[in-house]
């Protein structure tokens, strides 16, 4: 369990060093996202160009990844983001992370830039830097098939053509659809001339208490399978959320000019395109749709952002765009947000045909498809779109008013957060920009949740009304902490307490799983402390890059334009109330009123966890 290694690879020098993360550092951050963020903070200096060789790229598995623990398939890819210029980090499932651990490694830290296209081959305790001449230029499925042909049953995390061409929202992909999607980490791979990390191994993960793990997991599995939510996620997947959100009028539609869209994207229609539901490594939920159009998906995100947001109703067309993004290695959230943004800017005359090269409009499948290809190859207008939110400079200050992004990151999920105030605070404060997977308190829309359950989870005083600002900082604070902890463990948020359910894996379950695996005795409070530590270190990284209170805000439209349709009609975010909620959040977090981590805390975190990193 605790014998996996840390590989440090300097691509410029062509050197590899194999070392270890100390137990004390693992106790402070466990693994996954936490250790990645810690290493990034320690190893990067302020103002590094994210696409330069000075950026540091980390693939880190979770503390429980690759074990019998349900849904322990996950790893995080982290670097300074070329899309936002702040912390870049994305969590991903599939089979790669487990394989990396079976190959003997917890984590790979990649430095420099290879002279020619390369890939890393990680196998049974060794790391080789190999020539990727024959793999460069291949789409994400083709390159993985080529690796399987050449190297046998290996698992690979790759960048697509978009990553090679430094598209600022290129993703890292593994398998048919699993993506470390956000923050443009595929472009960081491209900038390092790194096509892939390929892992193949047969080293088992030693478990401190095998019988205890068998018993605990059996109990946990029965508990999770007994919930109403698990079988729904396993048969319908995330498209379930589309109809629910649409009923509220909380679906980002046509760049949030509207807030509700067509029933043709409801889960029951999507289901007609599903051949089989499959799972990631160790997954008991199995929410992945193997679709009849040759790929996997769509998730709720794709339905919203490649459907409603760009004005497309046809289900097959949305699935096709989803499959195309996956093949090219583009992040679906950013793709759908950026396309919708420029479609509106064109309608408003802020950009013209001369710049776009053609007429832009919502609802045009062929246009959207063509633009995705052009973005991935940086051809024509695609070359401009590939710069993502940085185009505010090119399109002019007014264009910013219509951009649905925070801190330069296009909003991830299709929720129009004007209705749900806690969701709004969550995307305003998330450490990588506008993203729901850092802290979305989904329970906000569980109207039937008894008040005592809400009090037990978040502490007293949070009303069961999503439109209220009252005490909503508590829901974001709780969610931020526990989601960070589960990201450190390498377990999927789908079974995390407070994400999709008021039950599921809470700190007590985490404590039991950590003990069975490693023999380490954590208290519930100490695991929560790990989560808090991660949030603080990520904020320290962002503070160093100049992030402060002024950046913890929302798209202008969310403040100034009331929602036009359905139950949410008339709702918007009140600036004063938002501001007060933000101050309360900082106070709860122990940050100062400008959103800076306090000096004492910075000192404490910097001093107590020195990095034992020796460069090769």
């Amino acid at each position: 369990m605790l014998t996996r290694k840390l590989g440090i690879i300097d691509l410029s020098k062509g050197k590899v060093k194999i070392t270890e993360t100390s137990d004390s550092l693992k106790k402070a951050f466990l693994g996954g996202r936490g250790l990645n963020s810690h290493y990034l903070y320690k190893m990067l200096k302020k103002d590094v160009d994210p696409l330069s060789p000075s950026n540091v790229l980390i693939f880190g598995t979770g503390f429980l990844t690759g074990t019998l623990v349900p849904n322990s398939s996950r790893f995080n890819v982290s670097a300074k983001s070329p899309e936002t210029g702040i912390l870049g980090d994305a969590n991903c499932g599939g089979y790669f992370a487990a394989e990396l651990r079976y190959a003997g490694f917890d984590r790979l830290i990649i430095l420099g830039k290879a002279k020619k296209p390369s890939y890393l081959y990680v196998s049974d305790g060794a790391i080789e830097i190999k020539n990727a001449k024959d793999y460069w230029g291949l789409d994400t499925t083709d390159v993985q098939l080529a690796f399987k042909k050449d190297l046998g049953q290996a698992e690979a995390a790759v960048c697509g053509v978009a990553g090679e061409n430094l598209v600022r929202f290129a993703c890292v992909r593994t398998g048919v659809k699993n993506a470390a999607g956000r923050c443009g980490l595929g472009a960081v791979m491209g900038s390092k001339n790194l096509k892939a990390v390929v892992a193949k191994g047969k080293q088992g993960i030693e478990i401190a208490h095998p019988e205890e793990m068998l018993e605990t997991v059996e109990e946990l599995k029965d508990y999770l399978m007994g919930s109403k939510i698990t079988p729904i996620l396993g048969s319908v997947g995330t498209p379930l959320l589309y109809e629910v959100s649409n009923a509220f009028g909380a679906i980002r539609t046509k760049n949030s000019q509207l807030n509700a869209w067509s029933d043709t994207l409801n889960a029951d229609v999507v289901e007609t395109y599903v051949e089989k539901m499959i799972g990631c490594s160790s997954c008991i939920v199995h929410c992945r749709h193997r679709n009849t159009l040759g790929g996997e998906g769509p998730e709720y995100t794709a339905l919203g952002l490649l459907g409603a947001n760009i004005g497309i109703e046809n289900t097959a067309h949305v699935i096709e765009l989803n499959n195309i993004c996956n093949e090219l290695g583009l992040d679906i959230s950013s793709s759908g947000t950026i396309l919708a943004w420029v479609f509106e800017l064109y309608e408003r005359g802020i950009i013209d045909k001369k710049m776009a090269g053609e007429k832009l409009r919502f609802g045009d499948f062929e246009l959207a498809k063509d633009l995705l290809y052009k973005i991935s190859r940086r051809e024509g207008f695609g070359d401009i779109l590939a710069e993502s939110t940085r185009n505010v400079e090119r399109f002019g200050e007014e264009s910013k008013d219509y951009l649905i992004a925070v801190k330069g990151l296009p909003q991830s999920d299709p929720h129009d957060v004007r209705y749900m105030k806690a969701f709004a605070l969550g995307i305003a404060t998330a450490s990588r920009g506008a993203d729901h997977l850092r802290s979305r308190p989904t329970l906000e829309i569980f109207f039937k949740l008894p008040q005592e359950a809400r009090d037990r989870i978040y502490g007293k005083g949070v009303p069961g009304d999503p439109t209220s600002y009252k005490a909503k900082e508590k829901t974001v604070y709780f969610s931020d902490n526990i989601f960070a902890a589960i990201d450190c463990l390498g377990v999927c948020k789908f079974i995390c307490h407070g994400f999709n359910s008021p039950h599921f894996v809470d700190y007590t379950w985490m404590k039991k799983l950590i003990h069975a695996t490693s023999g380490w005795k954590f208290k519930e409070r100490e695991i929560e402390e790990v989560g808090k530590r991660v949030i603080d270190v990520e904020r320290m990284f962002n503070n160093r890059e100049g992030i402060s209170r002024k950046d913890d805000t929302l798209p202008k439209r969310y403040f100034d334009e009331p929602m036009p349709l359905k139950i949410a009609k008339g709702h918007h975010i009140d600036r004063k109330e938002f501001d007060k909620m933000l101050s309360r959040y900082y106070k709860l977090r122990g940050w100062d009123n400008d959103g800076q981590v306090k000096k004492e805390r910075v000192k404490e975190l910097e001093a107590s966890h020195e990095v034992p990193v020796c460069l090769p």
């Binding site: 019998l68 993960i205 030693e206 095998p210 396993g234 160790s282």
Partner: protein
């Protein structure tokens, strides 16, 4: 007599069966060191749990020159004391259901009537059931499918 029956159409590929097997038998989590293996390829779109069919006329038993194999109550078992780890059984098994790793020969023994893999499967893709004519027919069909996949 109860046997393991596999339902590939229900298999999601997750490998909890293999992980539980390796954990119970070897105290580690290793899907490659288990008596049950999920043959999976998400690009070619299949998942198939592969486990010893407890053949009526087992090749492993027939060709073992140490007579390490015997059939006890319908279960093909290997006597570890007689076995010299030559791996001939693994080479000859037409279904590739005998795994070898780190000098170990790994073959399903149905966990003395309480197979651990079944407990951790969340979809019923592996079931431990009393044999019936219909199930036996299915088991033979599955064996043929495996041969088709493995090309033997």
């Amino acid at each position: 007599m109860k046997y393991l029956y596999v339902y590939p159409e229900k298999c999601t590929g997750c490998r909890e069966c293999s992980l539980a097997c390796s954990l119970k038998k070897f105290g580690e989590c290793n899907p490659k060191k288990a008596a049950i293996t999920v043959i999976r390829d998400e690009f070619n779109r299949y998942e198939f749990p592969l486990v010893c069919f407890q053949c009526e006329d087992p090749v492993c038993l027939k060709f073992c020159h140490q007579n390490a194999y015997s059939t006890e109550d319908g279960v093909v078992v290997r006597d570890e004391d007689k076995c010299i780890s030559c791996r001939l059984c693994a080479v000859l098994c037409p279904y590739n259901t005998i795994t070898t790793m780190d000098g170990e020969i790994i073959k399903c023994d149905l966990c003395d009537g309480d197979p651990v893999c079944v407990k951790y499967c969340s979809t019923g893709a592996i079931q431990y059931l009393d044999e019936t004519d219909e199930l036996e027919k299915r088991r033979k069909e599955m064996a043929e499918k495996v041969l088709a996949i493995s090309g033997k």
